[in-house]
Amino acid sequence: MVRVLVFVPSPPLLLDALGGAITALRSVCQQAISALDGGDVLVVGASPTQGRVTGTVDATPYGAPGRPADRPLPLALAVGRTLLPAASLYGVTATSQLPAVEGLLVVGDGTARRTEKAPGHLDERAAGFDAVVENALAAGDPEALLALEPTLAETLLVGGLDAWRAAARAALAEVRPGGAAPRGWTGAVHLAEAPYGVGYFVATWIPT
C-alpha cells in the first residue's frame, strides 16, 4: 500500500545537463524525496502512453550538448529519474490507475500563465488555479485534486494534472472507511512558487 507521496515539478531546468538556474528548487525537491526512503517507489509523470517506461534521460532536445538518445524519456519521467535514479518509471495519461507500490514520486507542474512574462502570458485565472492545487496538497485532499477542471487546466498550460489525478486516485483508494488507518492523508507543502511564471509545488503526503 502507498505510504508516502512526494510531489515535485518538472522543468527541464532540473535535468543535470541544463541545471544551475534553480539549485534552490532542486535542493527542496531532494529534501522532500528523502521521505521516499527505500521500499518500492514509482516515479509518476505524464507520458504519451500509460504504463511502465524505460529509456534514457536526454537533454539534447532542449539544446544540451551530446548525442541524442535512442529512447528519450518524456520530460516528467526524465526529471523523476534525475531526482530519484533508482525508482521505476510509470507514464500516465488522463485516466491512468497506478499499480500498488509503497511510495510515489509525482512529477508535474501547475499553470504556466502566472505573469505577463510567463510562457503562456498572464491569465488572471492562473493564480487561483494554482492556489486550489496548493491548498489540496497542503490538506492532503485527493478529492480536491480529482475535482480540478481539465479544460481550464489545458488553457492554463498545467503540466501536472494527469500525474496528480493518478496519484489522487491511488491515495483515495488507500483510505479505509470506519476508523481504520489510514483515515486520510496529512499534507505538507515545502514550496509553492512561480519564479518564471510557472507554478512549482513541492509537497509530501503521509497517512493520517
Partner: protein, 285 residues
C-alpha cells in the same frame, strides 16, 4: 542576386533596419510609435546606409491585441510616406496577416517579413500578385505572438532547414519571384537560448540550402541570457553573433543598431574578400 520589385541589392552583407510603429516593443518601447518619429527613424537609418527598412505595427511578444485594422492604420501611411521620400530603399513590413500585407504592398512596400511561419498561407499569393518578396521564418510551429514553453527538437537545425525551405518552395510555387525570397531561422521564436546558439553556430547549414538567409538577432533574449544583460546592454553580444553568422554566409541582418551592424558587416565582408578596404595605403606609400 537579391531583388525586390525591381530594386537590386548589392552582393555584400546587408542591413534591414527595424522601425517599430508600436508602443510596446521590447527594446525601443514606443520611441518610434508616433508617425513623425517613425518617419524620422527611417530617414536616419537610410542615411546611415540601411539597405532595407522593416516597418512593424505589432510587437512579437504576447500582449495587447492589435486588430488588422489597427495594424494597417499604424503601418500603411508610413509605407506611403517612405515610398515617396525614398524611392530606392527596399521597404519591408513585419506582419503575419495577409490582409495587412496586401494593403502595404499596394502602398509601395517590397517585402513581407512574416516572422510566424506563414499562419495565413495566402500571404504568398498576395506577395506574388505584386511580384513582391517574402521572408520565410521558423517559429517553432507556434501560433503568432506566443512564447516557447519547454519546446524540444530532435535536431533544431534540421527542423529549421526543413521548415523554411518548405515555406520558401511554397512561396515560389505561389508565384513569388525566387530572387525575392529570404529564409530566417527565427532566433528565440519557439526556441530556448541553447537552440538559438546552435542555429548561430550552424548558420552554414542553412546557407547551404542556397536560399539567402536573414538573421534577426538584434538584442534578443538569447543574447541577454548568454550574458545576463538587459536589452539596452546587448549590443556587443548582438554584434558578435552578427559577425559569426556573416562569416558563415548569412546575407541580411535585421538590426536596431544600423551603423554598428554595418561596420561589423563591412569588416567581415572585407575579411571574406567580398569588398576592398575603403583606404589601403598602410605600408604601400
Amino acid at each position: 542576386m537579391l531583388q525586390f520589385r525591381g530594386k537590386l541589392l548589392p552582393e555584400t552583407s546587408l542591413v534591414m533596419a527595424i522601425v517599430n510603429r508600436t508602443p510596446d516593443s521590447f527594446f525601443d518601447r514606443g520611441a518610434t510609435f508616433g508617425l513623425q518619429a517613425a518617419l524620422d527613424r527611417v530617414d536616419d537609418v537610410v542615411a546611415a546606409g540601411a539597405h532595407i527598412v522593416d516597418i512593424g505595427g505589432v510587437k512579437a511578444a504576447p500582449g495587447a491585441e492589435v486588430s488588422a485594422a489597427e495594424e494597417a492604420d499604424r503601418v500603411v501611411e508610413v509605407v506611403e510616406r517612405v515610398r515617396a521620400a525614398h524611392p530606392q530603399v527596399v521597404i519591408s513590413v513585419d506582419t503575419y496577416r495577409a490582409s495587412v500585407a496586401e494593403l502595404v504592398l499596394a502602398a509601395g512596400a517590397d517585402l513581407v517579413n512574416d516572422a510566424w511561419e506563414a499562419p495565413e498561407p495566402e500571404t504568398f499569393a498576395v506577395a506574388a500578385s505584386f511580384e513582391a518578396g517574402v521572408v520565410c521564418t521558423h517559429a517553432g510551429h507556434l501560433p503568432p505572438r506566443t512564447r516557447p514553453h519547454r519546446v524540444s527538437y530532435p535536431d533544431v537545425v534540421a527542423d529549421v532547414v526543413t521548415t523554411v525551405t518548405g515555406l520558401a518552395e511554397r512561396a515560389v510555387a505561389a508565384g513569388v519571384p525566387r530572387e525575392s525570397v529570404l529564409v530566417d531561422p527565427g532566433h528565440d521564436f519557439g526556441k530556448n537560448t541553447r537552440h538559438s546558439l546552435q542555429l548561430t553556430a550552424r548558420t552554414s547549414d542553412l546557407v547551404a540550402t542556397g536560399w539567402p538567409v536573414l538573421m534577426a538577432l538584434s538584442r534578443k533574449d538569447f543574447v541577454g541570457e548568454v550574458l545576463d544583460l538587459l536589452p539596452d546592454e546587448r549590443l556587443e553580444g548582438t554584434l558578435a553573433a552578427t559577425a559569426v553568422c556573416a562569416w558563415q554566409g548569412a546575407r541580411v541582418f535585421r538590426a536596431h543598431d544600423v551603423g554598428a551592424t554595418l561596420r561589423v558587416l563591412r569588416m567581415v565582408d572585407a575579411i571574406k574578400g567580398l569588398t576592398e578596404p575603403v583606404v589601403n595605403v598602410r605600408g604601400l606609400a
